[in-house]
């Protein structure tokens, strides 16, 4: 069934609320208003105010209540209206949700899902446009999911809800209106399994979330010029499917990474380090290429905001000059 990414998220929520009475959702303006991006539109009418709970503007309370509900056997999904606002709830996320299972010797667990819109490109300025996955990736005890397509949003959200541990799902704002084929099934997709979005011989380009689409577009342009790029959509950052990446690098000998988050301290460096540590090292024939957001707060000015994000053109040009310089042909 074709639907938008936002509808696919809603579809997964509905399915799981139907199937499992323990599942409920909480967040700012998610009831009557339907959520800032319309993801929860119509859910309060269908499931009632007890299971679709509007909250005050208080992220720490929202996440804290979610953790508490998890501990007494519920399966809460909390929405952070813009994922940037999760800063207000960092103690709950990092010190509580991520650590409870560990600190109670495995006798308690927190099957909490935190989801929220991330990323730039909508003119929402520096405090509403960030990509902060690297922070959460750094905290043991959290899983981080970043689906790029409607069906991945559906399948990975189902997996996140069913997972016994806290999972954070970042949904890129520019993906919400993107349409795609979605499986009409209650089958979850496994966390930690990357997808080869495009096979290729000359280089491996690892990416995730919205950038998958820009990278694929750039790869098509490059193919017209004789460069054959393998594109890997990681889908989940934690757990990370390193095996797919290293196998690909073993075939191509060249690794590039593209993400919208700023490069400094980003996931790209982590991917590079793990490839460097792996058996794929011996197959590397060129230095790493990272194509990332620029090291700046996301600008409000639309042209500057566009410059901040890796564009199809920037991806194309960077990869092309990299391959040319490194003598790929």
């Amino acid at each position: 069934m074709e639907m938008t990414y936002a509808a696919a998220v809603r579809y997964a929520l509905e399915q799981e609320m139907e199937r499992d009475p323990r599942v409920f959702i909480m967040g700012e303006d998610i009831g009557v208003y339907g959520g800032a991006f319309g993801v929860t539109m119509g859910l309060v009418e269908r499931f009632g105010k007890e299971r679709v709970r509007d909250t005050p503007i208080a992220e720490e309370g929202i996440v804290g209540a979610g953790i508490g509900a998890s501990l007494v056997g519920m399966r809460p999904i909390v929405e952070i209206q813009f994922s940037d606002f999760i800063m207000n709830a960092m103690d709950q996320v990092v010190n509580q949700a991520a650590k409870i299972h560990f600190m109670f010797g495995g006798r308690m667990h927190v099957p909490l899902v935190i989801r929220g819109p991330a990323g730039a490109g909508t003119g929402a300025a520096a405090q509403h446009s960030q990509s902060l996955e690297a922070w959460f990736h750094h905290v043991p005890g959290l899983k981080v999911v970043m689906p790029a397509t409607p069906d991945d949003a559906r399948g990975l959200l189902l997996a996140a809800i069913r997972d016994p541990n806290p999972v954070i799902m970042f949904e890129h704002k520019l993906l919400y209106k993107m349409k795609g084929e979605v499986e009409e099934s209650g089958e979850a997709l496994p966390l930690g399994q990357a997808r080869i979005a495009r096979p290729g011989r000359d280089a491996t380009l690892v990416t995730y979330s919205f950038m998958v689409h820009r990278v694929l577009e750039a790869a098509t342009l490059l193919a017209g010029e004789g460069w054959d790029i393998e594109v890997i959509d990681l889908r989940t950052i934690v757990p990370m499917d390193l095996a797919t990446v290293t196998a690909s690098v073993g075939r191509t000998g060249r690794l590039a990474v593209c993400h919208e988050a700023v490069g400094r301290g980003g996931i790209g460096g982590e991917i590079a380090a793990r490839v460097w540590e792996s058996e794929a090292f011996d197959f590397l024939d060129a230095p790493l290429l990272r194509i990332t957001g620029l090291d700046t707060p996301v600008p409000y000015s639309p042209p500057l905001e566009q410059a901040f994000m890796p564009s199809v053109e920037r991806i194309h040009d960077s990869v092309k000059s990299w391959l040319t310089r490194e003598g790929a042909h």
């Binding site: 011996d282 197959f283 024939d285 003598g327």
Partner: protein
């Protein structure tokens, strides 16, 4: 019996000339003893033993060229009789200054292939950036791992597009009335070889007279304000050249057999005469990023290093364009010969009074295979403008 091979001492080195042997057959050497002096890419360096051994035989005569990786010395003892393909080159000391070179530049993929197929990477020419050996360079090479033989090894398996230094011809019979034959050695030999190569290139020289009144005035002002920095007229000319060359990538790079490879930066070669020892070209890397004073500082530091022979091989670099200056010797103008594979070279003459104005003649030689006359003329024109109105250079 084992042998020692000529190590790769700089990223662009693929051969060297043994200038002098410091040991002879039968000599016992300790780790750190100097074995021989080699000249490469115009730098002289001493190669030391890195373990004690006994010298059996010298395989290359003084003054002869050897390829990187070629066996140069037969030895006994030292425990590394299998000084095989993967052996790390002995540490090297360059000139009087202590400078140790890193290992050669090769990608992990190239190293893996070399290990698997028994190829000595020191014998492979890298075609990657800065001479890095990459996978494809190793792919075309035949394995060099062979049983040790009593005879000097032949030339090692060669990679693609290798340049060779000709051995000096054997001395001709004594000609009546002539002095003793002096074979070309070291820098002289390399220069002879390069210039012969250059003479086969279709090259054209354009000359223009430049009014230096304003540049001379500006330089005097600098001298008053910043006497320590010793900004010279030459530096104005270098800056104007860098600016013009950076705007015209057609002349900034290397001409290869069937094409032109533009450089990503202006790596500016500057020819320096080291008294009695020939011409050295030092390399100011990424010169387009430098202002006048930085350029002057770098030019001075490199020139001093060259004249005192405290050069590191990377100071010689791999210029993308060269400037040659004979002005200080009173030469008014000259046709500089290309330094292949570079596409262009600029010659600077002396400053002379012409119609009451200090004037310099600049000569731009270009490789006509890669560049046409009109674009070359506009480059020269831009250099002239930059010098006649130094404000252009801001």
């Amino acid at each position: 019996m084992a042998s020692l091979r000529l190590p790769k001492l700089g990223s662009t080195m693929d051969e060297g000339v043994i200038v002098a042997w410091k040991v002879g057959p039968g000599a016992h050497v300790e780790a750190g003893d100097v074995l021989y002096e080699v000249t490469t890419d115009k730098v002289n360096m001493e190669v030391e033993a890195d373990f004690p051994c006994e010298v059996v035989r010298l395989l290359v005569a003084e003054g002869e060229a050897a390829r990187v990786g070629q066996e140069v010395l037969e030895i006994k003892g030292g425990g590394t009789a299998e000084a095989g393909p993967a052996a790390v080159p002995p540490p090297v000391r360059s000139g009087p200054g202590e400078h140790r070179m890193g290992p050669l530049r090769a990608s992990p993929a190239a190293r893996r292939q070399a290990r698997a197929r028994g190829i000595d990477l020191a014998t492979v020419v890298g075609t990657g950036p800065r001479g890095r050996i990459i996978g494809r360079d190793v792919a075309g090479v035949k394995p060099s791992r062979a049983p040790e033989s009593a005879k000097p090894a032949g030339p090692p398996a060669s990679g693609p597009a290798r340049q060779t230094v000709q051995r000096p011809p054997s001395p001709p019979r004594e000609t009546p009335g002539s002095g003793a034959f002096q074979p070309f050695r070291g820098v002289r030999l390399i220069t002879a070889q390069r210039m012969t190569q250059s003479a086969q290139i279709p090259q054209v020289t354009l000359t223009a007279a430049v009014d230096m009144s304003h540049a001379v005035q500006a330089q005097k002002w600098f001298k008053t304000v910043k006497p320590d920095e010793r900004v010279a007229i030459t530096d104005f000319i270098l800056l104007a050249t860098v600016r013009a060359v950076a705007r015209h990538p057609v002349i900034n790079g290397w001409v290869e057999e069937a094409g032109f490879r533009p450089a990503l930066h202006v790596d500016l070669g500057y020819a320096v005469d080291v008294s009695g020892d020939g011409l050295y070209v030092v390399c100011i890397n990424a010169a387009e990023e430098l202002g006048l004073r930085e350029l002057a500082g770098r030019r001075r530091a490199l020139t001093e290093a060259a004249t005192s022979k405290r050069m590191r091989p990377d100071d010689l670099g791999f210029p993308s364009f060269t400037v040659s200056n004979l002005g200080m010797m009173g030469v008014e103008s000259f046709n500089p010969l290309l330094n292949p594979p570079q596409a262009g070279i600029l010659g600077i003459g002396a400053i002379v009074e012409q119609q009451g104005r200090p004037t310099v003649k600049l000569s731009l030689t270009f490789d006509h295979r890669a560049v046409d006359g009109a674009p070359a003329a506009s480059i020269l024109q831009e250099i002239r403008l930059g010098l006649e109105q130094p404000l252009w250079l801001l």
